[in-house]
Amino acid sequence: MEYRLTTPLTREALAPLKKGDLVYLSGVIYTARDAAHKRLVALAKEGKELPFPIENATIYYVGPTPAKPGQVIGSAGPTTSYRMDAYSPTLIALGETGMIGKGRRSQEVIDAMKAHGAVYFGAIGGAGALLAKCIKKAEIVAYEDLGAEAVRRLEVEDMPLVVVIDSLGGNLYETGRADYLEETV
């Protein structure tokens, strides 16, 4: 199936998505990598407010290259998600519903996704120049000292994503491979 979705992503909007579905995402998303996640979770543990609204938020695991003059952003493809696994369950419990990255997630993250109706999307790893075309606006909202790893608010238009793990725990990394092998071997 193919979906066109706009943020914020509510649990209701995410519920029909199944692993393997294509999603063109528009609206506001936030960027964070390991260093930013560490700070966000530390804030949350102290009961402090996060620098952006986490309820129904989508976080994109990306550290873009610097924008050249006249550009909104430089190349901006996903980074490997497992480095965020230690932090994601906390953010999901706080209301994060969408994660965009690449690569496997831990069972703890998948359990948290199932409990709270969150979805893990894959963007094409290594396609940073292509994905940058979908980003229409970018501004730093926190942790400027982290450089490429700062938290940015992005406005995206028709960002091409694949549902890798759906809210029921269906996992494309398992079934995509199995389906291919069954079909061809």
Binding site: G20, A35, V62, G63, P64, T65, P66, A67, K68, G74, S75, A76, G77, T79, T80, Y82, K102, G103, R104, G122, I124, G125, G126, A127, G128, A129, L130, L131, A132, K133, L146, G147, A148, E149, P160, V162, L172, Y173, T175, G176, R177, A178, D179, Y180, L181, E183, T184, V185
Partner: protein
């Protein structure tokens, strides 16, 4: 004795950093196109199309192919007859990286201390590998290495009795462990022999060899082919979404080793297998 100014080295390194990050080598591009044509799984074809489209955009707009513009691995082959004039060679290389990553709008991805983790802000220091060679030429290769794939690399001190089967099992296990994480289709660099550290270096050097150039020893060329076929029977596919195209190539480098050992290192690279060379 031939004199080369360190200023020339600096300018060359800066240029190579930018060119390597924006223009995929033709051999890698050709492999991607070939595998796209041979791929039968629709999801995989779609991913490979996007990867090729991304590479075209990067090439035409001089944009980084991937946002992880890597640690700058710089291989310097210095002719014995060369004298570097005007300062330190290492400083010139690092200055070139600083310049290239700054003026080229590349991402600064290096932290100064591995545990303190504060970004150095200019992508230095470079990882520099020096080699001496006969003659009066200096050959410089810049290979920006992304860490999504670097993190999926492994080394194992096999026993001599493990033999070629042990090597095959280990390479296949590393690819299996890596799964979708290193942005497949991957390039697999394998270093066999030497010492613990030399095996790792061999694996990295294997990634510099053009993908259409097999090992010059028929035994290892056949092993490369066999491993590539086995990897592409795994079904991991581009991005791990399923399909044939899990790896574009397996490159093996070997060297003599100790009677008691069989070191084997596997350095994984993503589909953005970048390197650019110049001769001074």
């Amino acid at each position: 004795m031939r004199e080369i100014s360190v200023e020339t080295v600096k300018r060359t390194v800066a240029r190579l950093c930018v060119e390597a990050n924006c223009h995929l080598p033709e051999d890698v591009r050709a492999r991607l196109r070939d595998f796209r044509e041979q791929e039968t799984w629709p999801v995989a074809r779609n991913v490979l199309d996007q990867i090729l489209e991304n590479e075209r955009i990067a090439d035409s707009q001089e944009a980084p192919i991937c946002q992880d513009t890597g640690m700058a691995c710089v291989f310097v082959e210095v002719g014995q007859e060369v004298h570097f004039a005007g300062g330190s060679l290492a400083d010139a290389i690092n200055e070139g990286v600083r310049w290239g990553y700054g003026e080229g709008y590349l991402r600064k991805s290096v932290v100064g201390d591995p545990l303190e983790r504060k970004n150095t802000g200019d992508n230095t220091p470079a990882m520099i590998y020096y080699d001496l060679a006969p003659g009066d030429v200096c050959r410089i290769t810049v290979a920006p290495k992304g860490f999504g794939s670097e993190n999926m690399s492994q080394i194992k001190m096999l026993r001599p009795s493990d033999g070629v089967e042990g090597v095959k099992d280990f390479v296949l296990q590393v690819v299996e462990d890596a799964g979708p994480n290193p942005c497949p289709p991957i390039v697999v660099g394998v270093g066999i022999g030497g010492t613990f550290d030399k095996a790792a270096l061999l694996a990295k050097q294997a990634l510099l060899r053009p993908l259409d150039q097999p090992n010059d020893q028929p035994f290892y060329a056949a092993l490369e082919q066999e491993l590539l076929e086995k990897i592409n029977q795994k079904g991991i596919g581009p991005q791990g979404f399923g399909g044939r195209t899990t790896a574009l190539a397996v490159n093996i480098c070997t060297m003599p080793t100790h009677i008691a050992g069989l070191p084997c290192a596997v350095n994984i690279n993503c589909h953005v297998t970048r390197h650019k060379s110049a001769e001074l």
